[in-house]
Point group: C2
Chain length 316, copies 2
Amino acid sequence: MTRNTITTLFGIKYPIVQAGMVWNSGWKLASTASNSGILGLLGAGSMYPDVLRTHIRKCKAATTNPFGVNVPLLYPNIEEIMKIIVEENVTIVFTSAGNPTTWTRRLKQSGITVVHVVSSVKFAQKAESAGVDAVVAEGFEAGGHNGREETTTMTLVPMVRKTVSIPVIAAGGIATGKSMLAAMVLGADGVQIGSRFVASQESSAHAHFKQAVVDAKEGDTQLTLKELTPVRLLKNKFYEDLMALYKTNPNAAQLQSLLGRARAKRGMFEGDLEEGELEIGQISGLIDSVLPVSEIVAQLVSEFNTAISNVNHFKL
Amino acid sequence: MTRNTITTLFGIKYPIVQAGMVWNSGWKLASTASNSGILGLLGAGSMYPDVLRTHIRKCKAATTNPFGVNVPLLYPNIEEIMKIIVEENVTIVFTSAGNPTTWTRRLKQSGITVVHVVSSVKFAQKAESAGVDAVVAEGFEAGGHNGREETTTMTLVPMVRKTVSIPVIAAGGIATGKSMLAAMVLGADGVQIGSRFVASQESSAHAHFKQAVVDAKEGDTQLTLKELTPVRLLKNKFYEDLMALYKTNPNAAQLQSLLGRARAKRGMFEGDLEEGELEIGQISGLIDSVLPVSEIVAQLVSEFNTAISNVNHFKL
């Protein structure tokens, strides 16, 4: 076993990050992930500041291993969120959806390891210039909010790897040990996994949503709402309503009006599969069970090692 | 060295297929590819029947190795094209863009090996039921015409692999030995490579188009014209004109009118980078040279084998 840069950077056993997803990644998921030898992340994007503080404290009580917080930089209460993160001695922050320049410097001054999520080579270069410790290169197939370039994991990872010299964590389309190995063959130092952990016993997703992820087949998700922020959703009644609205050539305000507020909470957290916004990746088509996090991690590692052994048979 | 199912199926040395692309894949490219130990394909989609017959004959004269023809099944002269293929004793046909049911049976009755290109699990199942010998699972990142599901190579390959029992050839986003290995780790038996061979000395692409592929960066292609047939293009003046038209909420007829006829020929074959339609994959952002086919194949194989040796270091 060789310790790679990601395990060294975070002080974890396996080069795997559990994505900090809105409405899915509370203290239970993050702490169990960290206890399983990977990096658990809290998803601050769906937490009021005081809720985040509670989750950080509960996470600390539940694990002595490193964990982190994912913070969308466009968050309205960003100053307060970052203040809490520093006060509570969180040591790892993943930032996304915004410019990493200002916050990277401030967080690193507090001794925090900073990783930024990017969807393009250009943003990876900007993140490296901003001084981040690593980037997550997230492809078009990923669930939830996504980049405008629509660059897939297969093409994004080698291009980001070629461009930056900091560690690269691949995300988007990864749910098995085989796809984890594929991402590392493409040049990633580690992987961030989202959808597979939505369908875990410990995620805070509603049971209905977990079942919807298990039931999803290839072709059941779509990247949409590109006029607002592009987001990959499971196709449901809300999605069909959106498609009907699109036929009328709507402007951004009309799209925003249909989207409304709290749809993501309603769908993923409250389990309203008809009217809710169900953010999930394309790889949901390959996920067919809800399992404990520890079992998911054990399967990932075992399948990853088996895939390595099988690779020698490919030799030309 | 283990002979895999793809090399056995086609009687070739390496499990690599040179894609049969419109305006790029003439007899020179296909025969050199076949002489380099991979499967060369003629692209019938841009050839009148008599032109195809000439290319088949020239290809035969230039190589004693197996080669094939790619035939879009929506081709207007399909009966004549298939008649020529049988008359000229072509032994391998890749079909795409259409229903494989009718033609697979007829071609196989003539002893022809038939492979169908699919963009979804559903189409892969249909192709298997139609009796094809293998499928190409082509992801969203691929250049040219593409599926409506927008499923990427990273997610499509394992899902198709899980569903069908015939050999699976991965396509989309593959231009290096590393991405070839990644595709095979995901479950593919071999790969089909397009964009990398556009930028070869032997492709029939215009020198201006080859240089445009070399110059392309991440984010420079886009899947568009979804109201007609989705196609991935290099962004140029024609693409900008198309985006301007999209702002007016055009119907399919208006899009078709702007597209007109012979734009693909004008761009890729005649080198008009402003008004032409330039079909290429996302992975063009990683291609930085025009090389002889033999050198591209040698690099692919050498990098593939090196990547296999390096994989053991990842073991957890």
